[in-house]
Symmetry: C2
Subunit: 378 residues, 2 copies
């Protein structure tokens, strides 16, 4: 497709018609995938070194990256190559899959597995790399800033630098940091900075913390199959119960994998939380200004990473509303063209479909509207 054809299609999309065209496009919406992983070759090398010399002993890290960096399987080898590419292969894949834009985030555990000084420096350098990538391909990529919570004040400063100076669209944290959770007030300067910046905080999964991973390991249930959800759902509930959203009512989270299961539990969480508070069961669970389900409806957005399956997507869409559910693919962990087709076929109105694939992401992450760029199927 030539540039002129693309401009024409953009125009026709804008006026809501493709009359007279030989049906070169079948969708009147842009597709923005909002939870797409990347890492630098430098970081991949640091992970390999840490696996070899034992300097990172987190069992989840060793299970996950021991597999992806060490397995000779086709799945691991392909992922390990794709995740380090930010140009040719990735753009070809996006074209083939029909993805106009990826919102990139440094893959888990990101910089959170290193000592504070190393993590802080690595957050800066990878954010610089990410910003340069976005400048190279401004219509194809947007990025989320990595931070190192193990140095909370530095993390808050890096969030400000990455958003204000580099133009990144928000902050991503991969659940626990060396077994610690963000409900500890020593981390709350990060929430204050993110809220003040007016950008979202993506709580991406990590493998379960060392304190809880053991029963997941014997049957390889520690990662995306189940452990991610237990770990990350627990983390978000810890934030809610701790009163983070009383203190930072404008803070907006984004959760992948359709909210790590929390939408399933809205009713039960409210019921049991009320009972716990009424009975004064724990000093860690004080009364809140709103029900947990209100926070989950008003302070959280949900992406479909790894969950591009109509029953669950429509369940969350119905509960959380058309403005809180966003498309994500989870590239390069889950690269399935049929899932894009399945999301195209969701029983949504044209307006809700466009919000799902692009409009919500543009609003939540402050991404500029843009044309349908990809040429490939579907």
């Amino acid at each position: 497709m030539t540039i002129d054809e693309k401009i024409l299609i953009f125009f026709l999309n804008a006026v809501g018609s493709n009359v007279g065209m030989n049906a070169p496009i079948t969708r009147p919406y842009r597709r923005i995938a909002t939870e797409e992983g990347w890492m630098t070759p430098e970081m991949a090398a640091m992970y390999r070194t840490a696996l070899q010399d034992g300097s990172i002993d987190d069992p989840g890290f060793r299970s996950l990256w021991g597999f992806f960096a060490g397995s000779t399987s086709e799945r691991a080898a392909t992922l390990y190559r794709r995740i380090q590419d930010l140009d040719d292969e990735r753009l070809r894949d996006m074209d083939a899959l029909g993805i106009d834009m990826q919102l990139l985030m440094l893959t888990a555990p990101g910089v959170q597995c290193f000592d504070a000084a190393t993590g802080t420096a690595l957050a800066r350098s990878t954010n610089d790399t990410l910003a340069a990538t976005v400048r190279r391909h401004p219509t194809r990529f947007a990025g989320m800033a990595a931070v190192a919570p193990q140095a909370p004040q530095e993390a808050a400063k890096e969030a400000e630098r990455a958003v204000r100076e580099l133009g990144l669209r928000g902050v991503v944290i991969n659940s626990h940091t060396q077994g610690e959770y963000l409900d500890d007030p020593k981390y709350w300067d990060i929430f204050a900075a993110v809220e003040a910046l007016g950008v979202p905080l993506y709580i991406h999964p990590n493998t379960p913390s060392p304190q809880m991973i053991e029963p997941f390991l014997p049957r390889a249930l520690d990662a995306a199959i189940f452990g991610f959800a237990c770990e990350t759902g627990l983390h978000v509930l810890r934030l809610i119960v701790a009163g983070v959203f009383d203190r930072f009512p404008r803070l907006q989270l984004v959760l992948g994998h359709l909210g790590e299961g929390l939408p399933y539990w809205l009713y039960r969480i409210d019921f049991m939380h009320a009972g716990i508070v009424r009975a004064n069961r724990s000093p860690g669970a004080k009364p809140l200004q709103r029900k947990p389900s209100d926070v989950l409806r008003q302070n959280v957005h949900y992406t479909t990473s790894g969950m591009c399956w109509e029953p669950a997507v429509m369940y969350v869409h119905g509960l959380m509303g058309a403005d809180r559910v966003m498309y994500a693919m989870d590239y390069p962990y889950q690269v399935v063209a049929d899932e894009v087709t399945a999301m195209d076929a969701l029983p949504l109105s044209p307006a809700d479909k466009a919000a799902f694939f692009a409009g919500n992401a543009q609003r939540v992450f402050g991404i500029a509207p843009g044309p349908v760029l990809t040429e490939g199927k579907p």
Copy 2:
């Protein structure tokens, strides 16, 4: 209501008409609640002793029963009284709530927190007590047999005795037993016995095992609010991935709390399990004859305990089918008349509604059909 009136109502229900009656009943179905808790005063005393002398150091047990047996809150005191009653107060509550029959199971962790000899003896004695209760109120109660997995062969024998000799309707196990999971083949004689008996195995929650509970504790997230689901969902996935349902294809599980979240994850579990197996990632995750979702559709039933909320119930009903979802209240943990009303209002056909409230329970647990007995609202 007199016995004659009850017989008349039964007759009118049977012929599908209440013409001429002064509208004394409003529902043409019996309500069987299928996950209702009880314990003996003897067991309550043993729990108190273990809390005091430290002979049970499982942190989940100490958190849960430290609260229910020790808190002066209204919630704990009411529950602690109700759960030990098998006659007057319970029947009055059932009448007031409109529950015709409770399927009783010894509350978690049941006998699983004691040494093997104590647990085995206590399983026998509590099963005898339960069977006597059912004999006293045969139209109001049915029961599930407790077993002590810490002595697997004895547990298999007790399952046979309790079903064949006592007439109990299946077996209940409360997730982990002192940190061990049933995917260890040393426990599989229990599955063999249950499958041969043709009765269901109810996997009821327990607090997360000592190996994973720590991050749940600081915000009181260890029990029904979230920890139960992580623990029990993980346990069931361990059974599936271990090949338990290849080995025992006729084994039927029942899960409470709408399947402990697993129906949310059907697609993701299948996708990731296939990847794990294809990559030969773990010796604990070998190829299976069926997809995990097939097992969850063909070998599992789902009750609504604690989840009597239309969005989640209808989601599971749509995925798993009208013959696999059953009503449960979770008495005395969750005693809410409005939830009964909400379940009455589910958008189901009359046939599906009757299956949900009674027909499925009668078939799955082998409970004899019976009349609508309760007099109270709703």
